[in-house]
């Protein structure tokens, strides 16, 4: 099947490397527009009453940082701007460090934030869906302490939180399982809390059916594009927007590869047919 014409794929690797690197150095700043699903997430947070509490779950690890970290930063920033108190959890053990890193990055912008009053990091628990279901019954049994070893009863932000009832909305930053699917199934479908989230591009299509009339998910941020759109809505440009030009270039290269590959294939096939006759 046209094997003789195949070039060493390492040349293609090199092309992709420079194709992504150049637009990062020489940015063009092409325009970007926002889509409905991202707007829905924005509106959900924007319309939350002052002082309400939200649960943000960091269900990812460094492998998905380029996509989910900018989202996490933008969402947390938006919540702090709107005076929403945040409860961080993690269904992936490395999510704990991700949450810490977001706070570390934002602490200069929000010097007045008090740990335990405006936000708290409850840390990692295993067990996925079952543990989330358990949080709906015995929140304090699942999280008797926060990450720093404080008793949960002593934290003002946790007052009245015995299950999902007094939580304004749940937001999962998810790179796979356990993650957003489990939160939809429990937090929304079993306990009726508004649920939203951000996912990697890989899982986006499979999660999309939950964004529907039943509002299983209230909007969805998908991949780097979703993160960039949120940064635009928030008027706080970050790493997602600055990566968009490189993304465009790489997509263009891949599309060109697909076209060349197909043209080659059809040409060979035609030649084979001619040769056969």
């Amino acid at each position: 099947m046209g094997k003789a014409k195949q070039i060493d794929r390492r040349w293609l690797f090199l092309l992709i490397f420079f194709g992504v690197a150049f637009p990062l150095i020489f940015t063009l700043g092409l325009p970007l527009e926002t889509t409905k699903n991202v707007q829905m997430v924005y509106d959900l947070i924007d319309n939350m009453p002052k002082g309400s509490k939200a649960l943000i779950s960091f269900d990812y690890d460094p492998a998905s940082m380029p996509e989910l970290h900018p989202m996490a930063k933008a969402i947390v920033k938006h919540c702090f701007d709107k005076d929403i108190n945040l409860i961080f959890t993690a269904m992936w053990p490395m999510g704990v460090q991700m949450a810490d890193d977001i706070i570390y990055q934002l602490k200069d912008d929000y010097p007045d934030l008090e740990y335990g009053e405006d936000y708290v990091n409850l840390g990692f628990k295993a067990g996925g869906m079952i543990t989330i279901q358990s949080m709906g019954k015995n929140f304090r049994e699942v999280f008797p302490k926060d990450m720093n070893g404080n008793n949960i009863d002593e934290l003002p932000i946790m007052e009245g939180i015995n299950n999902f009832s007094n939580i304004g909305f749940v937001f999962s930053l998810s790179a796979g399982a356990p993650g957003i699917k489990e939160w939809v199934q429990i937090a929304h479908d079993a306990y009726g809390r508004p649920t939203s989230g951000g996912v990697t591009g890989v899982s986006a299509p499979a999660i999309l059916p939950y964004v529907n009339e039943q509002q299983q998910l209230t909007g969805l941020l998908a991949g780097l594009k979703g993160a960039a759109e949120y940064e635009i809505l928030l008027k706080a440009p970050g790493t997602a927007i600055s990566g968009m030009d490189a993304q465009s270039a790489a997509h263009l290269i891949i599309i060109i590869f697909i076209i060349i590959g197909n043209v080659n294939y059809w040409r060979n096939k035609k030649a084979e047919k001619m040769g056969g006759k």
């Binding site: 099947m1 195949q6 009453p49 002052k50 015995n162 009726g192 899982s203 299509p205 499979a206």
Partner: protein, 368 residues
């Protein structure tokens, strides 16, 4: 019903006390009586902040919540027991933090035996349970259950024939997960049939695996298949072998095999992650007939474009049931099909009702 009661309550209490009702305590419905719903409305007196407390002993209160909103609801679920009357107090403050009004009321919670909101879920759960159990038992009792032909399986004869003709081997990968994944088991069921065919036609089979548990099972299966085909002498114990557990290390190993041995046909059947792309690409470039199957939705696109035949999602399990004729797999598949049939029928009725403006069915099925 609940709304009507609340309305009547508000109406009559307004009438009797001629005082605005600022706070309503009601039982949280459909639970075990461990929570009370608190809702407040201070829009009449325009407070800038409210606090709500609960009396725990004579004159002693604990804080329940506070808010800057004029209306809202809160669920009090800490140490509430059914059948006990709890006293609540709402204190409304103005801009300067001065108390405008204090309002007191009480409520008690009760236990419910059945969660009425979940009737539709219960109906569907019972329907599906009965149909799956029914079909499993009828398959067990020897009833012949029909399953349509899976088109991806047609490639098996073609592949084996081609391999024999060209004198090149057949490569089989049972996915990269362990034996506890259903997809691996389905893949191995198909391997059983493929090995038998290969034995009959005297084609060489290569099965590199990346889990030690899968290794022993796959060896067993291939050996059995050769015996069944009446060619135990042709079985080569080294044809099934372990490479490594590491994802990319395994892929690099398989890539090497594809490039060196140039198999006539590749089968990728089981659970795959990112390696699907690399395997399918290398196989395609080597010119083999490729058959793939997985229930990992994110990996299917790569298989569909780069392989000649693809078993999509459930088809992998159906193929396994089809080949093994195992009554549990067959019966369960049938029961699930019954579920799909109900789904389509109810959906069509629902859409027609929606178009005619009748929302009864959708409301009944909507669960919160």
């Amino acid at each position: 019903m609940k709304n009507i009661i609340i309305f009547l309550f508000i109406f009559f209490s307004c009438f009797l006390f001629s005082q605005e009702v600022l706070l309503i305590i009601s039982d949280k419905p459909n639970d075990d009586g461990s929570a009370l719903l608190i809702s407040w409305d201070t829009s009449q007196i325009v407070s800038s902040k409210i606090t709500i407390d609960r009396e725990i002993a004579n004159g002693e209160f604990i804080s329940i919540t506070n808010s800057e909103e004029l209306t809202g609801t809160f669920e009090d679920g800490s140490n509430i027991n059914p059948g006990i009357k709890y006293e609540y107090r709402l204190t409304a403050f103005d801009n300067n933090g001065e108390i405008i009004q204090i309002y007191r009321t009480s409520g008690e919670s009760s236990v419910q035996w059945f969660n009425k909101k979940k009737i539709s879920l219960l109906i569907f759960a019972i329907l599906i349970t009965i149909s799956i159990v029914y079909y499993i038992f009828s398959a067990r009792s020897g009833k012949d259950l029909y399953i349509r032909k899976i088109s991806g399986l047609e490639s098996m004869d073609e592949s084996v024939g081609r391999a024999t003709e060209m004198g090149r081997p057949i490569l089989f990968i049972p996915g990269t997960l362990d034996l506890d994944d259903m997809q691996t088991i389905a893949g191995l069921t198909i391997l059983r049939r493929l090995a038998q065919k290969a034995a009959e036609y005297d084609a060489k089979l290569i099965v590199p695996v990346c889990r030690s548990m899968v290794l022993s099972t796959a060896k067993e299966i291939v050996k059995e298949a050769y015996m069944k085909a009446g060619r135990p002498d042709a079985y080569d114990p080294d044809s099934v072998f372990y490479l490594t557990d590491d994802q990319f290390g395994y892929v690099a190993g398989v890539d090497g095999i594809i490039v060196r041995e140039k198999p006539a046909a590749n089968f990728f059947l089981g659970a795959f992650y990112a390696e699907s792309l690399i395997l399918a690409e290398t196989g395609f470039s080597s010119g083999a007939i490729q058959t793939a199957g997985t229930a990992m939705p994110s990996q299917l696109p790569f298989f569909v474009v780069a392989c000649d035949y693809t078993l999509i999602g459930e088809e992998l399990f159906a193929a396994s049931a089809y080949l093994s004729k195992d009554p549990h797999q067959l019966g369960s598949l049938k029961g699930q099909d019954f579920g799909k049939a109900i789904f389509i029928v109810v959906l069509m009725i629902g859409i027609i009702l929606e178009i005619s403006g009748i929302h009864f069915l959708k409301d009944f099925l909507t669960l919160h």
